[in-house]
Amino acid sequence: MSDEPPQGQMYLYDNITPPLLDGSYRFNVSTDTTIDGADQNLPGATNYFNVEGPRFTLTPSLVAGVFPPRNGHGSFQDNIPHIALSRRTLPWERALDPSGLIGIPTAKQGDPPRPVGPAPWVGLLLFEEGEYTILQNQKLEDVVPSDVYKRLGSPANINCDAVQTTLPILNAIMPSLDELTVLAHVRQVNKDDRELSAGSADGWFSVVMSNRVPEPNSKCCACLVSLEERSDVIAKDPPPDFAPIRVVAEAPVAAAPAAVSRLAVGGISRGQNILQVNPFPFQINVSLVLLYSWKFECIGPGSFRDLMQGLDVAFFGTVANPGHPPVADTGHIKISLGDRAGVEETVMYRSPLVPFQLTRDPLGPYHSADQCRRVTPETGAEDVSYACAFEVGRLLAAADARLAQELMRWRREGYRQSARADTFSAVSATLPLVQPLDVHTPAIPVVATSATSSMLNGRGPAADRFGVNFIGNVIGLQPAAVQDAWQLSTPQEAENILGGDAGTLGASVVAPAATPRPATTIDAVAADAASLNNLSSARDRLIANAAQKVGGTP
């Protein structure tokens, strides 16, 4: 076979025939041998073998795909139903009409050459609801006419499914001999192609198309039927085409509606030849061997293309009839609102879908719907758009119990940490900390260390013990301020007014230098026996005094 097509591509073939058709074969072996001019033929042998394939039933696993989808609902009225079989030779494994009973189609002027290759032995027929009956597990001889049964080789004990319909319906939809041939083809796709090659191991499919397009709003059943030896139902030439009356120019005025109404009925009226055969053609039932069938429903509004082309395209806020409803330049429309006093009021509302780009409100967050209400100065009307949005969000969230819980959890975590942070800031305002407190690390060691070091360091000597500097800051006692206030020429004058020279208030006091203390250690303290003895005797004294006071002995 030829190479695979690249991914995303496919090759189509008119047909692929197997080397041997299905059937029973006999082969004769004879060997001609000549020895010295004399025939010494070896004894011949005869053997039999069968080539078998699907004939009266079809394993569903051989069906690779169908369109329209099985049990699908959709707008399929412009689609040609087809079935893909995962064996490329399947439609040509049997001969449709080996004895040529159908005949050769009549060639007309302008016809293309007849299709190359044999006709397939299967066909895809599309029935509408009410046109068919599916019979299951029928005896083959009950399904096909007796002469067909005989031509099939009279196989015994064969049970199969069948689809039963009436002869006029079947004649109307059954493809002719050459139509059957062109309705089947073979498709080769890349076997790694995910989309095209669903369900095929080797990338080969045989495809059988129907010739009938589903009627809108109908329930349909597509049936893959075996047409082997069914020369009784396959015509060599197709029935006549429908001739549409395009312009009724010269027809009498009265006649035209009649013609149109007759067409509208459906055009079964042309099946005259059947009427000649039998006066009650609708009672003649025909059965066909059913290999596979699937149903789908054709509902929907027409083709995707027509719908899309017919869309009314505009920006949001465009109305078909301007002014109904009136849409403001800003995209607002008027709505009626019962306010909290129970008074009916006309307010403006704009949905989140706006026809132009808006800047985002930076004044967030809002804490209540009332906070989002706005009044337009031009009209005095209230704009409730954002208040509505707020309420929508609130109601949606309130309807969700889990969200309320999560919100509480979110806040609780936040509060816990923020309470700690507040405490920490109060602590750090009071106590010089050796390192900043962090809400995520234990605070007690830091505070303890800071407290200890602040005790060890002491407060240091007090500067300005008597508050002289502080008093000097009082504005009435500052010579410069007095000079400025009373517009004095020199600072000396101000000093004189304040009661003399600068020494009156005393010199400014600076803190005495801290007594240098050598760094000491616990070991050094422990080694100072004299001091320890002093401490110990002082303690004993205190205990003795206390004992005396309470009148007991230690």
């Binding site: 959709g74 293309p112 989309e195 967050p365």
Partner: protein, 353 residues
């Protein structure tokens, strides 16, 4: 006895005058996943009743499509309202006030995974982790645009493909090509609001929006016309034969007659004859040898509807649209990505002997 460093009264006073909030970066300030996901959904208006989106049914008549910009303030207010649940005092208000910028920033990022969550592409935690660490998606908020479509096509073609592009890519457009992928805008939401109403939100301002018929592998089909059907003539490689001068090219069609006995049954013989006649004057069409050449002609690739913004629409009234205006609709019949490639390259029609 020594006084405590901090009295409860003093702590309360400090808390009242300057409440300290946990910093947004702290793990305690992070929104619980459920809450973050809920609020992100609200951001793209999931769950907002239809009446709030379309306050008057005349704003969205039957068989219409309306493009729009999303009002971000509106979506922010919905989120504010949701957080207002359980807000009973100043404590909650102070907390919300302090965290709102961080929440808004995070939701600007998280709103981009709402569609993935809806499509159940993974758990929220995983999607968020990937999204938050991806420099392509953790940037600041972008403009959100979209359309709302009320059409019978919404219910008839539930798996419609909707894409938006930042540049107007001409046909042939292959959505899987690198150019198209780079220009494609992120779809933030694509959902049916009712059986016949669909809303789509995109991140950014599109120059081209396409609505494409869903793909079902290879399809065959016809178009109904008076008295029968018609099909588009196709080259042997499956592409349409166009006549006329670009850009006003139209496809060349062949009338497909039907049988008199049943007008839904194609007269294949007559169609073949018509195709044979057409092929005689156009050698690029496949020779009508059998099933394969007929199949090429009745191919019916999915339809792609294009909505293209006009280049300059400013100054045309009170509403300016920044070029994102859907006043023009041009439709081009194209193939699905896989089939389209198939059609552009040769479909070799061979007959095995």
């Amino acid at each position: 006895m020594r006084q405590a460093w901090i009295q409860s009264k003093e702590a309360l006073r400090l808390r009242m005058i300057q409440p300290q909030q946990v910093a947004p970066g702290e793990p305690e300030a992070e929104m619980p996943p459920y809450m973050e996901s809920f609020l992100a959904h609200l951001r793209v208006l999931v769950g907002v009743p239809f009446e709030y989106l379309v306050p008057d049914s005349r704003l969205l008549p039957d068989e219409s499509i309306r493009f729009f910009f999303l009002d971000r303030s509106w979506a922010d207010r919905v989120v504010d309202g949701a957080i207002a649940v359980g807000k009973i005092g100043t404590r909650e208000q102070a907390h919300h006030q302090a965290h709102e910028p961080a929440i808004r920033q995070q939701l600007d990022i998280t709103e981009r995974i709402v569609r993935s969550i809806q499509m159940q592409l993974g758990s929220f935690a995983n999607l968020k982790a990937v999204n938050d660490s991806n420099p392509a998606t953790n940037g600041p908020a972008d403009v959100i645009t979209g359309f709302i479509l009320r059409s019978a096509a919404v219910s008839g073609w539930p798996q419609m493909d909707v894409r938006a592009y930042s540049t107007d890519i001409p046909e042939p457009l292959d959505p899987s090509s690198a150019d198209a992928q780079n220009a494609q805008l992120r779809t933030l939401r694509l959902e049916l609001l009712s059986p016949s109403v669909m809303i789509a939100l995109f991140q950014g301002i599109p120059a081209l929006v396409t609505l494409e018929e869903p793909h079902h592998g290879v399809q065959f089909g016809v178009e109904p016309v008076f008295g029968g059907f018609q099909i588009d003539e196709r080259h042997a490689n499956g592409t349409q034969i166009l006549v006329g001068v670009a850009p006003n090219q139209v496809s060349k069609t062949v009338f497909a007659p039907v049988r008199a006995a049943n007008t839904r049954v194609l007269s294949i013989t007559s169609l073949r004859r018509a195709l044979f006649t057409a092929q005689n004057s156009d050698a690029t069409m496949p020779k009508q040898t059998g099933g394969a050449s007929l199949a090429v002609e009745v191919l019916n690739p999915p339809w792609r509807q294009r909505f293209e913004g006009t280049k300059d629409n400013r100054g045309g009234g009170g509403q300016q649209s920044s070029g994102f205006l859907s006043s023009l609709s041009v439709a081009v019949r194209v193939a699905q990505p896989a089939t389209k490639a198939a059609l552009q390259t040769a479909i070799q029609s061979e007959v095995k002997p």
